[in-house]
């Protein structure tokens, strides 16, 4: 057997601008491929991505060579395996229980959604990225994390700083300096709120973790909140914008979804079509083999869920948004022990609550120039603007 083929021609810029044709080529010709520009072996088939994520004993999340630890000033749960991972994850789980989603976060989200929608002017072209998608995702996260005094702007700044820091594989100074600043601010806000929830416990993540019978270390409580900030704003924001784009550019589908009320299908299809988190990395712990290629111990494989979600073995016309598609499993929330903690939160807030409210409020919303929408991102991907006329 031999090592995976090498693709020297793919650049990071290409992947940031327009990755899907690259992945389609890879799925056909080199489904397991070394990509020197990202220093990873990419896996582009659905079956392989799922296999890796479901097999943490062989494919570890604990890769100490990434800039994540420096950016988060902590060894976070996302980079841990086994018992330690589970313990830190379970510490935060009660916040996201079905009961809390139904009785606390759902109703709160609806109130904020109404308030933020009230601010949008009718009849004008409005960019929904900075006016709705970003701030609303930031607001509900600040609340459920237990740092409600953090502003939407702060939350979004911190989130981007964490993402840019954790993705700073070039080890440049600026992203680390920016995230160091963000860390100072976050630490201050989290500490201040810790005093508050100790005195008056609630269901927020900070409170649940701090007031637990056998709490995890303070360093990991803070790290968990930062993981949620780094991983809980972009994705619902990008998912929402992607779905709006998908529905507005397919009016027939929008009509059917309106009639059926099956907004969850529009949501699932949006996150399938353009996965907000496109890729994840795992460190290979033992020599192994994937699809006939030798994968030596120490290799970092990258599951490309963006590509898995378009895999011809699973989907017909996977490159098209089709909210009426027969439901198909996608990998946008990952799988295995690191399966997204915010899955149910995102499905409820964006899918079941916001979409129907938004399209009811602006029944004649129009995307006048779809070609003005700019898509960007390799690790995280979504539209960076969504100029629609609200009516």
């Amino acid at each position: 057997m031999s090592l995976a083929p090498v693709n020297d021609s793919v650049t990071v810029h290409r992947l940031i601008d327009d990755p899907y044709p690259v992945y389609a080529q890879m799925r056909t010709h080199t489904p397991v491929v070394q990509v020197p520009s990202v220093k990873r072996t990419m896996l582009t088939k659905a079956e392989d991505c799922r296999m890796v994520k479901d097999n943490p004993a062989l494919f570890s999340s604990n890769d100490p060579t990434t800039p994540m630890e420096k950016a988060f000033e902590a060894h976070t749960l996302m980079r841990k395996d086994g018992e330690e991972h589970l313990r830190e994850r379970n510490a935060m789980m009660p916040t996201f229980s079905p009961r809390n989603l139904k009785t606390i976060w759902g109703p709160m989200y609806e109130r904020y959604a109404a308030e933020y929608l009230d601010r949008l002017p009718r009849g004008e072209v409005v960019d929904l990225f900075p006016t709705l998608a970003g701030p609303l995702a930031a607001r509900i996260l600040a609340e459920c994390m237990g740092i409600p005094d953090a502003s939407d702007e702060q939350m979004q700044f911190w989130s981007q700083a964490l993402i840019d820091g954790a993705g700073n594989f070039g080890w440049f100074d600026e992203p680390f300096e920016r995230v160091a600043r963000a860390n100072k601010e976050m630490n201050r806000v989290i500490e201040a709120n810790a005093e508050r929830v100790k005195a008056a416990p609630d269901q927020s993540a900070l409170s649940v973790m701090l007031n637990a019978e056998d709490p995890i270390p303070w360093s990991q409580i803070v790290a968990n909140i930062k993981i949620a900030i780094g991983g809980g704003i972009n994705e619902p924001r990008d998912a929402l914008l992607t779905i709006i784009y998908g529905l507005l550019s397919n009016p027939g589908q929008l009509e059917e979804i309106r009639a059926s009320g099956n907004w969850s299908a529009a949501f699932e299809e949006g996150v399938r079509w353009v996965a907000p988190i496109q890729a994840s990395s795992r460190l290979v712990l033992e020599d192994t083999e994937i699809r006939g290629c030798d994968i030596p111990k120490g290799t970092v494989v990258m599951t490309i869920q963006a590509s898995a979600n378009h895999d011809e073995d699973v989907y017909e016309n996977g490159h098209l948004y089709d909210a009426l598609r027969k439901s198909q499993p996608h990998q946008s929330f990952g799988s295995g022990p690191h399966h997204c903690m915010g899955t149910h939160m995102a499905r409820m807030t964006v899918g079941r609550l916001l979409l129907p409210i938004l399209f009811e409020r602006f029944p004649n919303m129009r995307l006048e120039n779809p070609e003005d929408v700019v898509w960007r991102g390799f690790g995280f991907r979504g539209p960076i603007n969504m100029p629609v006329r609200l009516n």
Partner: protein
């Protein structure tokens, strides 16, 4: 080896041999039974492995406990007394012949 029948929402039946000690979810995935997503891989965190245990078989599998019922709340289809998360059902040799039905969707 216990023999297990999965009945899809459209009535299609898949009959498979299960390894003892595996969970019902692992059996389904090992045999590519459609309709069980099991996104979290069996950690009881995703509620995408919902099944209905057919008839008297519930006596063998037992009902969902309180934690499992809480998690089942996330499943999109109707939850009944026969609802289980298949990752929480361990196959034992007295389950030979077990029949479970799959819901229409898992998300």
């Amino acid at each position: 080896m216990p023999r297990i029948t999965f009945i899809a929402a459209d009535g299609a039946e898949t009959v498979v041999d299960a390894g003892e000690g595996d969970s019902l979810m692992q059996v389904a995935r090992a045999h590519n039974v459609d309709g069980i997503l099991a996104e979290c891989g069996g950690e009881m965190m995703c509620s995408t492995c919902h099944v209905y245990v057919e008839g008297d078989w519930l006596d063998r599998t037992g009902p969902a406990d309180e934690d499992e019922r809480d998690m089942l709340d996330f499943a999109p289809c109707e939850i009944t007394d026969a609802s289980r998360l298949s990752c929480q059902v361990k196959i034992t040799d007295d389950m030979d012949g077990l029949v479970v039905r799959l819901p229409e969707r898992q998300v």
